[in-house]
């Protein structure tokens, strides 16, 4: 079954723009990205939209649909009433390049600031050993498809451009937590997470978790445990005393601060 969908799409660039009204023929089982593509092929050949896999695996087609941060390729038209107007706008926390495409280089800059994984030597047979249960925590975080919807939603930077230099955002707290929980990493990144990455600015409102298309429990499983580990290190009086008199916590075994 097909029907005519009323679609409003933001058109414009860094200098400004406005919502354009379109009518697009769509059919059952289609997603918002299908409607955008049909619009592109038939009415607006130069409509800019970023996409790659169209399967929810690459995280390219992030935008805001009726104000909600979502992937265009994973938002089914059947979630809306056929008579409803669907409004598609670019992610708000990043500068617009054109139409639905934003400049997400903020995220790539933050990625560069993060010290990479640093394992010790391999076992004698040239392999490494880790237990499934120990890698599973990190695996949840590595499901991240870098759609940056969490970054876009986070109120620390949404409409607060001034916080961006000091704040890495949920996507990278995930990365800090992943490395901190990696059984073979030799770095202690807690100071860095709290300091340079601005973990402390997060006040766990869970907006990031809510918009994650991979269903990663960013707040509960990454941010909160990471905050606890920072607190353990910084504010636990016994740990503080231990550090002063040169007794290292077991938690730090094999790890050096970066």
């Amino acid at each position: 079954m097909s029907y005519d969908l009323t679609l409003r799409v933001w058109r414009g660039d860094a200098d400004g723009g406005e919502l354009g009204d379109y009518t697009v023929e769509v059919s059952d089982g289609e997603v918002v990205l299908d409607a955008i593509h049909r619009l592109q092929a038939t009415q607006a050949g130069d409509l800019a939209v970023r996409w790659n896999c169209k399967a929810g695996k690459c995280g390219s087609c992030s935008a805001e649909i009726n104000g909600r941060p979502r992937l265009l390729c994973m938002t089914r038209l059947s979630d809306f009433d056929p008579s409803e107007t669907i409004t598609v706008t670019p992610m708000r926390s990043f500068p617009v390049i054109r139409d639905l495409v934003t400049d997400v280089s903020f995220n790539y800059e933050k990625a560069r600031e993060l010290p990479s994984f640093a394992p010790g030597p391999r076992d004698d047979d040239g392999k490494r050993r880790m237990m499934q249960v120990d890698v599973e925590r990190g695996q949840e975080f590595r499901k991240c498809i870098e759609c940056f919807l969490c970054q876009n939603t986070c109120h620390v930077v949404r409409d607060h451009e001034e916080n961006k230099p000091a704040f890495a955002g949920p996507r990278f707290f995930l990365r800090y937590a992943e490395l901190d929980m990696h059984p073979l990493d030799t770095h202690d990144r807690r100071e860095l997470a709290q300091g340079a990455a601005g973990l402390g600015m997060c006040n766990i409102t869970k907006c990031c978790t809510e918009v994650c298309p991979e269903g990663i429990r960013i707040t509960d499983n990454a941010i909160i445990p990471m905050k606890e580990r920072v607190v353990d290190r910084k504010f636990d009086p016994l740990v503080w005393l231990g550090n002063r008199i040169g007794i290292r916590s077991k938690d730090d075994e094999g790890r050096t601060e970066v």
Binding site: A41, L47, N52, C53, C58, S105, V135, R142
Partner: protein, 614 residues
């Protein structure tokens, strides 16, 4: 440049950069090549059409094939080599297959050094899973999102090393210095964001642009797969081989239409899933070819025992190589035993517990739930063949990945030879790693050993710019829409150069491609140069049309059926053809391609012993 640039900021004049090695493409092969070139001391840049980390590698699901022996100590490179050659119906470049099997285990281990978190065996080693055509459980994996893990690991490694990345920047022409022979001197491209042009001066260029699937209507491939590297290489004077071999993955989604072609991982079958037709029959037992009869179970009982006891049972026919399974599914559908939406049934729900399925196949569970309202733990999936991979690509030297043009290397899906007439699942990701590293090292060593550098000629830059802007000018009768031409090409390739081919249809496809090429001369795109997808597509179309012609031409020439090339009018394999490659080059006019026969490289006797009696 500080790395990870998204757009050109220079104003006035042509933006220029100088490197030792420029890698085109940032999937697994490109990233691995760049890492190797950088580590060998080269000034290295990656230029990619999309954002970093979005390349098609991200879609790979099942795993990386490498004979690490973590589950089956009997496994080793020789068994993997044999499986690969037999999977490719012996048309593979034997040396590539050998290097691949020998080096894959260390390449996988290396990913772990860089932070990859693979699933584990009970004793803590990297787990390995079963896949079609592989004798032992051999695929290192992370659930069913192995490609994401691989690209993220390589991306993070490249960022840690500080390699410069030019994102959303498309290369449209290679630059050649023809003062003394013909050597690569650089590449020409445009920033998607601004539409501004950029010239890279570099003696080594590594093509890692992936495949050609976007020329087909039903495909698992993303928009980037327009055969850029294939076409760039042809236009620079290099040759392509094996272009007639296109892999149709047996299991793509068939419904809803919006996701038709989307990949359903082979792991579903590796983990116990089976294929049934509308009569409920497990039909693959009817399609066991003579070539694989000795190693394939012929009863359901034996097939089911195999998952736990590989020593005393033969593998289920669902795990035959992809070409065999895709043809069988095609036949069942044609015979009227298909599912309601024109596919057949892939059933794991009745074979494994919901917990097992959700744990081992989380992305598939998610994909079907979200996009098709199907719960794969409770009901079968409807699937059908989808264009997935091109075995053919740039003809390269097995050890160095050097093409026929000095300074030009090719690696990954855009190179040819490694997989012969059919690629085994899991061999792609390992291919990217093994030959990515080799290409990076060779390209770096070539650049380091040069005296005077090849020069980019100003006239070539001007010509490349003029040609890139042509779609804005249109011709006197410039009215063609790039989206329409692409759709017509996709329909033509799907209908006439698809999974089952015939001489007359292939001839018709070539005539149609000629007409499309003529229409493409009258392209006209609207708007301006800033982030304009219509313009981008107009430029990609040139590659798509040239590569489609290669496929159709080689397919018409090869009068036999082998691997990913099935001719209804020549149904069996022919030993004569089994020792021959078809080689394609740009013709004298520069707009079409010409074809030649070439004998396969001869395998040394000591390797031949692996195939005696088979």
């Amino acid at each position: 440049m500080t790395g990870n640039e998204m757009s050109g900021s220079e104003t006035g004049g042509m933006e220029r950069h100088t490197y030792d090695v420029v890698v085109v493409g940032a999937g697994g092969a490109g990233l691995r090549a760049a890492i190797a070139a950088h580590e060998a001391g080269s000034r290295t840049a990656i230029v990619c059409k999309s954002l970093l980390g979005k390349a098609h590698t991200v879609m790979a699901e099942g795993g990386i094939a490498a004979a690490m022996g973590n589950r089956w100590p009997e496994d080793n490179w020789e068994v993997h080599f044999r499986d690969t050659m037999r999977g490719g119906k012996m048309l593979n470049n034997w040396r590539m297959a050998q290097l691949h099997a020998q080096e894959a285990p260390e390449r996988v281990q290396e990913l772990e050094d860089w932070g990859a978190l693979f699933d584990r065996t009970d004793d803590g080693l990297i787990s390995q899973r079963d896949f079609g055509g592989h004798r032992y459980a051999r695929l290192a994996h992370v659930g069913d999102r192995t490609g994401l893990e691989m690209i993220r690991t390589l991306q993070q490694r490249a960022v840690a090393l500080g390699i410069d990345v030019f994102m959303e920047c498309t290369v449209t022409d290679l630059m050649l210095d023809t003062s003394d022979g013909s050597r690569i001197s650089g590449a020409f491209g445009y920033w998607r964001e601004t539409g501004r042009f950029v010239v890279f001066e570099a003696p080594s260029v590594i093509l890692a642009t992936g495949g050609i699937g976007k020329s087909f209507k039903v495909t698992s491939n993303s928009w980037e797969y327009t055969g850029d590297g294939h076409a760039l290489a042809l236009r620079a004077g290099a040759s392509l081989i094996n272009m007639e071999f296109v892999q149709f993955h047996p299991t793509g989604m068939v419904w809803p239409p919006s996701v038709k072609g989307l990949l359903v991982t082979e792991s579903v079958r590796g983990d116990g899933g089976i294929l049934r037709n509308s009569e409920g029959k497990r039909f693959m037992f009817d399609y066991i070819p003579e070539f694989f009869r000795a190693e394939t179970a012929d009863t359901e009982e034996e097939a089911d025992r195999w998952y736990d006891d590989k020593a005393n049972n033969r593998r289920p026919p669902e795990l035959l190589p992809r070409d065999e399974v895709a043809r069988a599914i095609n036949s069942e559908i044609k015979a009227g035993r298909g599912s309601p939406h024109g596919g057949i049934f892939l059933d794991i729900a009745s074979r494994r517990t919901p917990e097992f399925i959700r744990k081992r196949l989380p992305s598939m569970y998610h994909q079907f739930k979200e996009l098709a309202d199907v719960d794969i733990t409770a009901e079968p999936m409807e699937i059908g063949p989808t264009c997935h991979y091109v075995m053919g690509g740039v003809e390269v030297d097995a050890d160095t990945e050097l093409s026929g043009v000095e300074g030009l290397y090719a690696v990954g899906e855009c190179s040819g030879g490694m997989h012969g007439s059919n690629r085994l699942g899991g061999n792609s990701l390992s291919d990217l790693l093994v030959f990515g590293r080799r290409a990076g090292e060779s390209a770096a060593s070539y650049a380091a050993g040069l005296g005077a550098r090849p020069q980019v000629a100003d006239a070539d830059v001007t010509a490349a710019a003029t040609s890139a802007l042509a779609p804005f000018e249109g011709s006197a009768s410039g009215t063609e829409n790039p989206y329409t031409i692409q759709q017509d090409l996709q329909q033509t390739m799907n209908d006439l150069v698809g999974i089952i081919r015939t001489g007359p249809e292939l001839e018709a496809s070539l005539a149609e491609i000629d007409r499309l090429k003529e229409r493409a001369r009258h392209l006209l795109v609207e708007g301006h140069r800033q982030y304009n997808p219509g313009w981008h597509l107009a430029l990609d179309l040139r590659s798509m049309l040239l590569v489609s012609e290669c496929i159709a031409k080689a397919a018409l020439e090869r009068q036999e059926s082998r691997g990913g090339h099935t001719r209804d009018d020549f149904p069996g394999p022919d030993p004569e053809w089994g020792s021959r490659n078809l080689v394609l080059r740009l013709d004298a006019g520069g707009e079409g391609v010409e074809l030649a026969h070439q004998p396969l490289p001869a395998m040394p006797d000591d390797l031949k012993t692996y195939f005696e009696g088979s």
